[in-house]
Symmetry: C2
Subunit: 533 residues, 2 copies
């Protein structure tokens, strides 16, 4: 669907301010008003962007006088900001242009990268694609990649991989939208601190050494061509700022996406990816912490189970009377694995049906024939070999369950710690945003049942989907978001998780289902006869 850009009629100096593309109508020069061409244009753009300066390139100045006169002092301007106080002219087109003027939003994940093309005039999403981060060929996680940086040519290799990968995908995306890559004038990128460093060719090696220092907390706005993106030669790229090595721009984008920085009421945002990252706050203040610190989260939640995909079990229910398993797979394909949300569902169902105790230990007599010992380790079969797509038994071991218990306890303890740090009870929270795939797939009732998240009314939980991409998209649609990004970053107080005795006590108390203090989980019915030891 093509959206034709309809400029406004000729009236006094004006520009739309709700988009980065603006139709400008300049007062024509006269003896009484003989300011220079560039300053005439700048005056209108300054006003609409609310900045004291709007910069233009020398090359733009070279063509400006003839363009303005040919177009009778009207034009379509693609603008952006370099800082809160400095706008920049990206591109000037005739006032009645029908050329599509586009932006590219990037969710730069460690595992997967999502690209989205935006029409800068309508704000419409034109196309989207997901692909594996090509750096995965070097290493699956942040740490491996940072170690690779220290090998000869390693930094350049990782940098080229992601740049070439994005360029190739952008080309395909542009073909799908019938635009040229030169029609992409703005790029915004949200990613964790290590990934954005590698995108820019910056060495992240000091991020993994105490005291964990990134090269920059605010990559800011650069020319997209500088790190090598093949888009409009004058395009600018905004890279979301980070709060530190363990709290990246993806989270800042998430906060922007859910408007936490504008809400009067305190909300919490949880993003469980490789690490669990948590932000608590409102328009006045924000506290954040990341669960990478401390041994408690070793393993992480997403290490449990398989990556979501066709045939992967994402929902499990157990009939409490018959103990029959009801499994749902993605796209209803024959089961071939269990993903994170499936594991949480499974644990909740096992607990409700009395097949695991409050410590998460399998109870052989209750599990019946699904229980076995494999290499001396307790094992529970979810899908027998005969019914699975792989021909192997699909199940869960006691070690998997123990790991889940540690993870959920860590998550709960982090939530308890961060709310406690501002003197709040978790029960006082009215809005609980859950970001990312975790948020999209998890069943809050199951997560509450195992005591991973607080026992709030289900409607308080709000899944944000890909909030990193959402935030990256919003800043391309709405100039009003630009200044909020740095303001969000600056309003965050990052709390280093201090894994002290107090934390460990809370962590130990949370290592039961749902918790040693069952009063905190009134909605969870603890199976009779099996309350706290």
């Amino acid at each position: 669907m093509t959206v034709h850009y309809r400029p406004k009629g000729p009236s006094m100096p004006q520009a739309d301010s709700h988009r980065w593309v603006q139709t400008v109508t300049l007062p024509p020069p006269s003896l009484a008003d003989n300011s220079a061409d560039a300053n005439r244009l700048e005056a209108v753009l300054k006003q609409s962007l609310g900045v004291p300066t709007v910069a233009m390139d020398l090359d733009q100045l070279k063509s400006l006088p003839e363009q303005l006169r040919e177009w009778h002092f009207r034009a379509t301007a693609v603008v952006f900001k370099e800082t809160a106080a400095k706008g920049v002219l990206i591109h000037l087109a005739p006032p009645d242009t029908t050329e599509r003027l586009c932006g590219l939003a990037v969710d730069l994940g460690t595992t997967r990268v999502v690209l989205r093309i935006i029409d800068l005039v309508s704000g419409e999403h034109l196309a989207e694609t997901v692909f594996d981060n090509p750096q995965t060929t070097v290493g699956p996680d942040v740490l491996t990649r940072i170690h690779h940086v220290e090998t000869p040519g390693g930094l350049d290799r990782l940098h080229r991989l992601i740049i070439d990968g994005i360029n190739a995908q952008v080309e395909g995306l542009c073909r799908r939208c019938a635009i040229g890559t030169g029609q992409i004038h703005l790029v915004s990128v949200a990613g964790n601190t290590a990934m954005t460093h590698l995108l820019l060719g910056l060495n992240p090696r000091w991020m993994i050494r105490e005291p964990y220092i990134p090269v920059t907390n605010r990559p800011g706005v650069v020319r997209a061509a500088q790190p090598g993106l093949s888009v409009h030669p004058n395009a600018r790229m905004l890279v979301f700022p980070n709060v530190g090595s363990y709290f990246g721009g993806d989270l800042i984008a998430g906060i922007l996406h859910c408007d936490m920085d504008r809400r009067e009421e305190t909300a919490i945002l949880v993003d469980v990816g490789t690490n669990a990252e948590v932000v608590l706050g409102n328009r006045h203040w924000m506290m954040a912490c990341a669960g990478a610190a401390g041994p408690a989260l070793e393993g992480g939640v997403t290490r449990m189970g398989t990556t979501a995909g066709p045939g992967v079990i994402d929902r499990i229910a157990i009939d409490p009377d018959t103990l029959a398993f009801d499994v749902r797979t993605i796209e209803n394909q024959p089961p071939r694995g269990i993903c994170g949300s499936g594991v949480i569902d499974l644990a909740a169902a096992l607990f409700r049906s009395g097949m695991i105790d409050i410590r998460g230990k399998l109870i052989p007599e209750r599990c019946g024939k699904r229980y076995s010992l494999q290499n001396g380790l307790a094992h529970l079969t979810v899908v027998p070999a005969g019914q699975s797509a792989t021909g192997h038994d699909l199940g869960i071991t006691q070690a998997d369950l123990d790991s889940l218990i540690r993870s959920k306890a860590a998550m709960y303890t982090i939530l308890e710690t961060i709310t406690g740090s501002v003197g709040m009870q978790q029960s006082e929270l009215m809005t609980f945003f859950v970001a990312g795939t975790f948020g999209a797939y998890i069943d809050p009732v199951s997560a509450i049942t195992i005591g991973m998240i607080p026992d709030l009314p289900i409607e308080y939980y709000r899944s944000l989907g890909n909030s990193s991409l959402g935030g990256a998209t919003r800043v391309l649609q709405d100039p009003g978001c630009f200044d909020r990004i740095d303001a969000i970053r600056d309003s965050i107080t990052y709390m280093e998780l201090n894994v002290n005795q107090d934390f460990m006590n809370r962590f130990s108390a949370a290592k039961f289902l749902p918790h040693t203090d069952t009063a905190r989980f009134p909605s969870v019915r603890v199976p009779s006869g099996r309350s706290t030891q």
Copy 2:
């Protein structure tokens, strides 16, 4: 003379703020203070520059972490500003560097260009050179060059001529100071509006067509490499802003140079080059006008006589009794011409000795054998052929004198108009700055005698020398000057000279020596018997 840069000892975050080169000492990172390397450096630079942002290039960020650690979180930083609200890091060197860090100040005249190399640490002038603007080969004046722009390749030719000319001269200058051109990190250029446009490759064609619109009033700060200067690849170039097509950055630099924008008391600044430009004001307001408008200044003051140089007569006195001429030549060489200041001296002396009347007409009986008619035109011999270096008679014609009278009348009328526009009498002025070669060579007593400038006490007149170069130099020496430049530009009210009946009446009254109203010139003794007709 080599000035070694002596960084301060290690203490808490600090930077000098009185130079663009700063020794910075950063607090080393710790778990309690884990902001990124770039932001750690930026924090110190932001404070010293008093700006909310200091930008760094991606390439600088790439080497920053290793540099900071190698240098123990101390460094020598060359900084500059891009706008009042945005600093920029140009270059980072070890804290104890002995490398010279330099700037280049440029007075970009239509006729002559002056370059000066500055040591950015000491502020010292290292070397200076003057050369003819190479664009003179295309045309001697602004108008010819602008017409040339409209021929095929004309703009590029003029742009290359000045860029190549500066590059060649800079190379020679750098050799003289024993530095490389890459050691020039900052450039500042003051010139008239047309010359700065040509330097940047901007087309000045609309400047000479009503309503006289330049491409830009504020070229601002660009990378010096962008228009083609061969200096440090990351060097920035500040081009002084203009107020319009006829009031250029050279005048803004002049105002900066003499601190008119900081003085409580009202002063006037007169720059007589190709045009006469006048600024009247103080720290609260400034009025300006340029004498290019109107037919009165046709010819101009500097068209009179020869360009100053060895053998050129710059001072003339006439003994009132013997009528003997006493001529002084530059460098005491045999006389070969008369420069502008010589012509003014001559006219004043002729008037005092009664050899011209109050209309400036030669009086044959008083001139004696120096008087002759050449091709029907009255002529006065100053140096007979036998005594001149050229073998020709050196003198002045009635037409030259008539032209001088028109010029001096125009100058006086402009001064009267601009002071009158703010309700001031010329006699109220306490400081009268005279810029440029005109200011450097002219004898104020002579100029007062012919009624070109008001009859103020001689000590009120202050010759500024090359104030355009002076202003360009100051901004390289003192970061405090940067913001003043735009502030000066914005505080100027440009007054179009309205050559109406009132102006013409005042002009006619000023076409006598010293003026029809002799009461305005009490210090000038009007020769007896020859008062106003």
